[in-house]
Amino acid sequence: MTLLQLAINGVALGAAYALIALGFVFIVNATGAVNFAHGDLVMAGGYVAVGLGAMAPLPMIILLPLVAAIMFVLGVAVSLVAYFPLINRPPSTVFISTLLIGIVLQNVFLVLFGPQAHAAPPLIQSGILHAGPIEISIQALGTLVVAGALIALQYLVFAHTQIGRRLRATAQDRQMAQAIGIRVHAVIAATFGFGTALAGIAGVLLANQFFVYPTGGIPLSVYAYIAVVIGGWGSIAGAVIGAMMISLFQVVVSAYVSYAVATGLLYVALLLVFFFRPQGIFGELVRRRV
């Protein structure tokens, strides 16, 4: 496979990863909490697609808004169980609660769908397009378009709407946001909702090509975590770039060595980033000598 072909595959995958990282970083920004069930919520989106696909055999692009709505509600529910009851505790407690939610989710999948992998219906249809020496599956193309549109939409909402401004204000100074009249708890719940909806859509996009299975979310949570760290904790652009880097790395490197080794090299690369630039690519170093 040519490098260009690999790059294209990497970008298509990276678009989906970017959605995952985006949802993850929203929640990090709004609450300071690391949601380690995020990958499992991606799987949840995939499973919802599988379920809906069995009931109504339509192309997923039509059912996408419904999936997003369901996932939004699920996200709010997760915040009510795993975040709000623990709002005054040290952040590590929320980390653990999301891990436990992840376990519950994984086993709900197991009970409802069994341990085997499932594929969700395609976004539009299966098939491959050719453009000269390059080939790209319709699914991958659809993924790129949907993810790209959502990232653009996210940017527009954040930068140009009142809702977006209120989300940002709550993330930057929760108390002052309250003091100007923002209902911060509703905003935080909505942030969980939006972040989870993005995760769910990513799940739908991935589930056709990569299948969903109960424990499939675990590596995705790790990738989201890595993307946000590489890109600089809290930076939205950084998270997207970090996600791209992970997928490009995976796709390109695993063409030359086994997938497992490529993943191992990814983690080693991460550790090297820590060693040489502990604040990530866009992050701020905290100046302390303690």
């Binding site: 952040p91 653990i96 891990l99 086993n107 009970v111 550790l271 303690v290």
Partner: protein
């Protein structure tokens, strides 16, 4: 013995343990014996995790990795090379510990989330190695046929013997954990969790404390992993994976992050919970996860903490055991010259520090002579606390130098500056609420004569270091007039007393220079007079005092010299009367350009 038992929830726990032991001796089926053995192994794992997660307060995600490495070392050496237990067990402890030592230096410097992710990354790399390097590790299936524990002349093969053996090791683990945490070392961890800045400015080497905890956790993890290999005779990648890490975290949080009993309780409960819920077949993990989440939400200090709260509710607060009588009243050990030396003890020169576009300090210089009391005044935001932070090492300046006792300490780490003889208090008081006044002060000695981890473990019987530290603490408490509440837990003391505890703590490091940040804030007039008098007595002994204050009445009775800052610059310095009449000071500080006569500033009474 009776008093030891009646403290806290020790009595119910001991009774519970006795009941469990009796059960194991007389009624347990082979299945139960196996279960209880597994509980012991996990208890050991959690005990180790408590060092890094509970005591040092760092969310390490490598604990399962250390467990797995210990298991694999045992598995590989025993099945491929036939090494006996007495060789494989120490190596299974040393291996993970060595790995911890290697990765500790870069990894412990990282901020919390990054630290967790780095430890996770290492774990994932090791997991991949275990799966891929199948020649050595047996790949996905792992290694089977690991023999039972063989000691010279004794094979520990039947389930009952294995149970006793494993729990004997757990008991040793508990003992070591107890040793590490009961003395000054444990209190140092406590203060470190409470507030990093206060801890390091008392001379505690945070990096060293974290390092010790991390390596210890790895050693325990390796030991537990090795034992598991011998008990189930198999080691596989499951011994290293994230699911195990989650289990370990869950057990720790549910049992109690810092309590030895919590490790045992958490491990036992989770192991049994999973067994009980197995009845639910497919739904058992869902039930288990939900139950664990419920406990997490309802019991913030774990079950041990919840039990203790219950006890307090039913029986009232337990007394803190008084230290043995005859505590030596150790005075400051640092020799102070009888006469004032001609050289300044502290020189600050041209300090500049800007952040976020604001020039917090802009070319600030000052010097202090031994035994002087100097007041640092200025409006809010003028840079007073920032200057204290630079001197004490909590902030780095961008230009300039700080010289103390002839040494350049500009770039020195905070704990080193504290050990050289600079001590400080803070605007917000950070005390450990559930330790006594005496112990809160005593922790200040952990920096200088706390000794290391190994010394803590090796202490037999009465802890001499702790005693000496308490002696210092008592002396310091006397100097501040709080010796009568020495055994009270700090959480219930009134504000004025807490302030005095904090000053006593700063004094207990036997400093040459004492930096006080708004010590009079929140004190009533009587308390202020009292504190001022005591500070004067410190200075009389030769301790130099630099006091940041807004309260000019308080300073009037105290300071021999005043330095006034405004927007990062020194705008006046000299005798108090002169400085207070300085127009620039009046305008900057009080905002009154009106004539000085309008505010006839009386001389100190």
């Amino acid at each position: 013995m009776a008093s030891w038992l009646s403290n806290g929830i020790r009595l119910p726990l001991v009774l519970g343990a006795a009941a469990l032991i009796a059960y194991a001796l007389f009624f347990a089926s082979p299945y139960d014996l196996r279960m209880l053995t597994i509980c012991g192994i996990y208890a050991l794992l959690v005990l180790g995790f408590q060092f890094v997660f509970g005591h040092a307060g760092a969310v390490s995600l490598a604990q399962a990795t250390f467990f797995g490495i210990g298991g694999y070392i045992t598995g590989i050496l025993a099945t491929r090379f036939g090494f006996p237990f007495l060789a494989t067990f120490p190596l299974s402890i040393a291996g993970p510990a060595l790995l911890a030592v290697i990765i500790a230096v870069p990894v412990l410097k990282l901020e919390e989330h990054y630290f967790s992710l780095a430890t996770l990354g290492i774990g994932l790399v090791v997991l991949l190695l275990a799966i891929q390097w199948s020649d050595v590790t047996g790949g996905t299936n792992g290694l089977a046929g690991i023999p039972a524990i063989e000691l010279p002349g004794l094979t520990i093969a039947d389930r009952r013997s294995v149970l006793w053996f494993v729990w004997a090791i757990v008991a040793i683990g508990c003992l070591i954990a107890y040793q590490v945490t009961r003395g000054l070392h444990g209190q140092a961890y406590h203060l470190m969790r409470e507030n990093l800045e206060a801890a390091s400015s008392l001379g505690l080497n945070i990096a060293e404390l974290r390092f010790g905890a991390f390596v210890l956790s790895a050693a325990y993890g390796g030991a537990a992993g090795a034992l598991m290999a011998h008990v189930i005779h198999v080691v596989s990648p499951e011994n290293l994976d994230l699911a195990l890490m989650v289990t370990c975290l869950t057990m720790t949080v549910i049992g109690g992050r810092t309590r030895i009993a919590g490790a045992i309780l958490g491990a036992t409960l989770i192991v049994y919970l999973r067994e009980w819920f197995r009845v639910l077949e497919n739904y058992y993990m869902i039930a288990y996860g939900t139950a664990a989440l419920a406990v997490l939400i309802m019991a913030p200090y774990g079950l041990v903490g919840a039990l203790e709260r219950l006890r307090v509710l039913l029986f009232g607060v337990s007394r803190i055991a008084a230290p043995p009588a005859g505590l030596p009243l150790i005075q400051s050990g640092r020799p102070v010259a009888a006469q004032r030396s001609a050289e300044p003890i502290l020189t600050v020169d041209g300090i500049a520090l800007a952040f976020g576009g604001v020039r917090a300090l802009d070319g600030v210089g000052l010097s202090c002579m031994q035994g002087e009391i100097i007041g640092l005044i200025g409006p809010n935001g003028s840079g007073k606390t920032t200057l204290l932070n630079v001197i004490s090492g909590l902030a780095s300046c961008q230009h300039g130098s700080v010289t103390f006792l002839g040494r350049d300490i500009t770039k020195a780490p905070t704990y080193a500056i504290a050990r050289l003889g600079i001590s400080r208090t803070f605007q917000h008081i950070h005390l450990v609420d559930n330790l006594s006044v005496l112990d809160n002060i005593a922790v200040a000695r952990a920096g200088s004569d706390g000794g290391g981890l190994l010394q803590a473990i090796g202490t037999v019987g009465r802890d001499r270091r702790l005693q000496d530290a308490r002696g210092f603490a008592l002396a310091a408490a006397e100097r501040l007039g709080i010796a009568n509440v020495a055994m009270e837990p700090c959480g219930r003391l009134p504000y004025g007393t807490r302030r005095r505890v904090e000053v006593a703590r700063a004094l207990a490091t036997a400093p040459r220079l004492l930096l006080l940040d708004e010590p009079a804030a929140g004190l009533n007039e009587q308390e202020q007079k009292d504190l001022a008098g005591r500070i004067r007595s410190f200075a009389a002994e030769g301790i130099t005092v630099l006091v940041v204050e807004h309260n000019l009445v308080f300073l009037a009775a105290l300071a021999e010299r005043l330095i006034c800052l405004d927007r990062g610059k020194v705008i006046a310095a000299g005798l108090p009367e002169a400085v207070r009449r300085e127009p620039a000071v009046i305008e900057a500080y009080l905002g009154l350009e009106a004539d000085v006569a309008e505010l006839s500033l009386a001389a100190p009474s």
